[in-house]
């Protein structure tokens, strides 16, 4: 029966390949979406967990936008008073409060923007995974800079080199270069907090404070207390995660609608193909009925043909998604609110199996009506066709 179904499909290769492509595209779309969703969730979770903090204090405004900007190494329009740092550090639940002052320096001629971050020792404590590639692990003087791996490559600097910043009229010595971490840190220029405040004329101001708690269970209570700091608002890690996933969820819903459209087109392709098969092979199917095939056997044959078609489409779709998924994820990276540096495309066996089964189910369902029509063909047609 399988051989017969395969031979029948091979009879009109172009038409069947087109139907197969329809299913393949819809399965690929679904798989890309599923893999992107899975990849984004995992990467975001890993990146936020890797920050070593439970919450962030940011200036008033949209807290999630502020948090996203800070996490992506971008500056904010507003800042916090340094007194907020002292208040946060006094909170009994807080084990570490790390200030950041972020400033951007556009390099118009080179078509890029440098981000400078002022930090103190607490930042170093919050990021124990920071590894220095070469040079010193921390500043030994006021006018020193630690470069992220990409920033060092761009500037072609080594530890000990002098670094003149024409925008701020300062000459800094490169203290060390960080190992590549795959995070936003790779492209940043780190300077002591006081140096940054002086360089960018932000005396006693900071952009955000990353807060690490003694016990993550105290997040709720600590958040309520820290919320009372004037001009500051608290964004917890789980809130950030939820918000980013919701924002991505909206994009996903839009893309999912596109996937449904693709799936519908694929299903219609299978429906149309199967219907053509029934019309074209009317007398042949009736002849098979005359030779003793029962209605259910003809139904099974046609369903088998649609299953083979969608099975092939599903496999091709998964292969297709494995190839184009990464490229699409890198394009989508630009549109998502917080784009982790990790791979955003994770085609797990679970995601692949789900998409494959959905494609197969829809394809086979699309073939049900034509198969049913074929099973109802009267065998007498075999003689009438003669």
């Amino acid at each position: 029966m399988i051989l017969l179904a395969l031979r029948n499909l091979w009879r009109r290769p172009l038409r069947h390949v087109l139907a197969l492509i329809g299913i393949a595209v819809s399965v690929a779309t679904l798989a890309c979406l599923g893999a992107f969703g899975q990849g984004y969730r995992d990467a975001l979770q890993s990146e936020l967990n890797g920050m070593g903090m439970q919450m962030m204090l940011v200036p008033l405004g949209c807290p999630y936008d502020a948090a996203a900007r800070v996490l992506r190494g971008k500056t904010l329009e507003f800042s916090l008073p340094q007194s907020a740092l002292l208040t946060a550090r006094r909170d009994p639940a807080v084990s570490l409060a790390a200030p950041m002052l972020m400033a951007v320096v556009p390099q118009v001629h080179e078509g890029r923007t440098d981000v400078w971050v002022g930090i103190d020792q607490s930042t170093r404590q919050m990021k124990p995974w920071w590894k220095v590639e070469t040079g010193a692990p921390w500043f030994t003087g006021k006018n020193e800079v630690i470069l992220g791996a990409e920033a060092a490559e761009l500037e072609m600097r080594r530890p000990g080199d002098l670094f003149y910043s024409p925008e701020t009229h300062r000459t800094l010595r490169v203290a060390g270069i960080l190992q590549r971490s795959g995070t936003a840190d790779d492209s940043l220029f780190f300077v002591p907090l006081t140096t940054a405040q002086a360089m960018f004329h932000q005396t006693d101001r900071i952009t955000a404070i990353a807060v690490q708690l003694h016990d993550p269970q105290q997040t709720g209570a600590a958040s309520t207390r820290l919320q009372t700091i004037a001009g500051a608002q608290v964004v917890t890690l789980s809130e950030m995660m939820g918000t980013f996933l919701n924002l991505v969820g909206a994009v996903k819903t839009l893309l999912f609608s596109l996937a449904i459209v693709a799936l519908t087109i694929g299903a219609l392709g299978v429906f149309n193909t199967l219907l053509s098969i029934v019309v074209e092979r009317r007398s042949e199917l009736a002849m098979m009925r005359a030779l003793g095939a029962s209605g259910p056997q003809i139904f099974a044959l046609l369903t088998l043909e649609s299953a083979i078609l969608t099975l092939g489409g599903g496999v091709c779709g998964l292969i297709m998604s494995a190839f184009v998924g990464r490229a699409l994820a890198s394009v989508a990276r630009q549109w998502v609110p917080l784009s982790p540096n990790e791979v955003l495309f994770k085609l797990t066996p679970n995601v692949a199996a789900n998409c494959f089964l959905i494609g197969l189910g829809v394809g086979v369902l699309a073939g049900v009506v034509p198969a049913w029509q074929a099973s109802r063909l009267p065998p007498a047609l075999a003689l009438n066709a003669d």
């Binding site: 031979r7 009879r11 007398s283 005359a290 030779l291 003793g292 056997q297 009267p378 065998p379 075999a382």
Partner: protein, 273 residues
């Protein structure tokens, strides 16, 4: 007594008329009535009527057709176009149901069984030969012959497949086409295609072979070879009913049924019996 008739047929391997004589000769004391009851019939049609509706008008494609076909007979059904030949063949092949009348095929009352049982009856007891051969273009000659076996019941598919392959090979030998086993239908001549169709119709060892214009698409020489093959099968005991315009084919049939406007106008065995 039926057993004796059957044996006589096997031994004689000739026409039904000869066999009837044999029966009479062997059992001179038996009355005609008793002889009729003990004969085995492949087909018993009584008052078969089939009415189609065309645009609100009733068309009687068959109108009260009655006849009987004994096991091992060679029957030709003749008539002009529109006389009801194909309608009759549809009914005999369990592919359509009569509006009135009764039909017994191989001892089964066709009107009393459901669609599923009719399909089984068709598969297990009836073989079909079509004018345009009806071969599957995508399958090889061997696969075409084995095709009806696909629709049979099977408990162990692999074992079934082996016996199916052997049976298909045996039938290809029988129709002298073993050397064409792996060819596709389009690589065969018309006569060869019809031989393949005949081999296919024999796969399930049918009791009745229905042929619709089996020589209609063939030249006269090829047609003759097909007629010879059908005669050979009939000599081996197969009951054959053939719808034909071919006078040579109609002439070799021991039993002729003529139809006109859906009515039976002549049944050669009426005189004979």
């Amino acid at each position: 007594m039926a057993c004796v008739v059957f044996d006589a047929k096997r031994c004689d391997a000739g026409a039904g008329r000869t066999r009837l004589k044999l029966v009479g000769e062997n059992f001179p004391a038996v009355s005609n009535d008793i002889k009729m009851e003990t004969l085995s019939f492949a087909v018993e049609a009584d008052g078969l009527t089939r009415i189609y509706k065309r645009g609100g008008e009733e068309v009687r494609a068959l109108d009260g057709v009655s006849f009987r076909v004994r096991d091992g007979e060679f029957v030709s059904i003749v008539g002009a176009s529109g006389s009801g030949k194909t309608t009759l063949l549809n009914l005999l092949g369990c592919m359509d149901a009569a509006d009135r009348g009764t039909l017994r095929l191989a001892g089964h009352e066709v009107g009393a069984i459901n669609e599923r049982a009719r399909t089984r009856l068709r598969r297990d007891h009836i073989g079909f030969v079509f004018q345009h051969f009806g071969l599957m273009p995508t399958l090889t000659v061997h696969e075409n012959v084995a095709l009806p076996g696909l629709f049979g019941r099977r408990i162990w598919p692999s074992r079934h497949q082996k016996s199916l392959d052997a049976r298909a090979d045996e039938l290809l030998e029988r129709v002298s086409l073993a050397h064409r086993r792996n060819h596709r239908p389009h690589e065969l001549s018309g006569g060869e295609m019809q031989r393949v169709a005949i081999a296919r119709s024999l796969l399930n060892t049918p009791r009745l072979l229905l042929a619709d214009e089996p020589t209609g698409d063939l030249d006269s020489a090829t047609g003759e070879s097909i007629i010879e093959l059908l005669q050979e099968l009939n000599r081996d005991g197969l009951t054959i009913l053939v719808v034909t315009h071919n006078t040579a084919l109609a002439a070799i049939a021991e039993h002729q049924i003529s139809l006109r406007d859906g009515r039976l106008i002549q049944d050669s065995t009426d005189q004979m019996l």
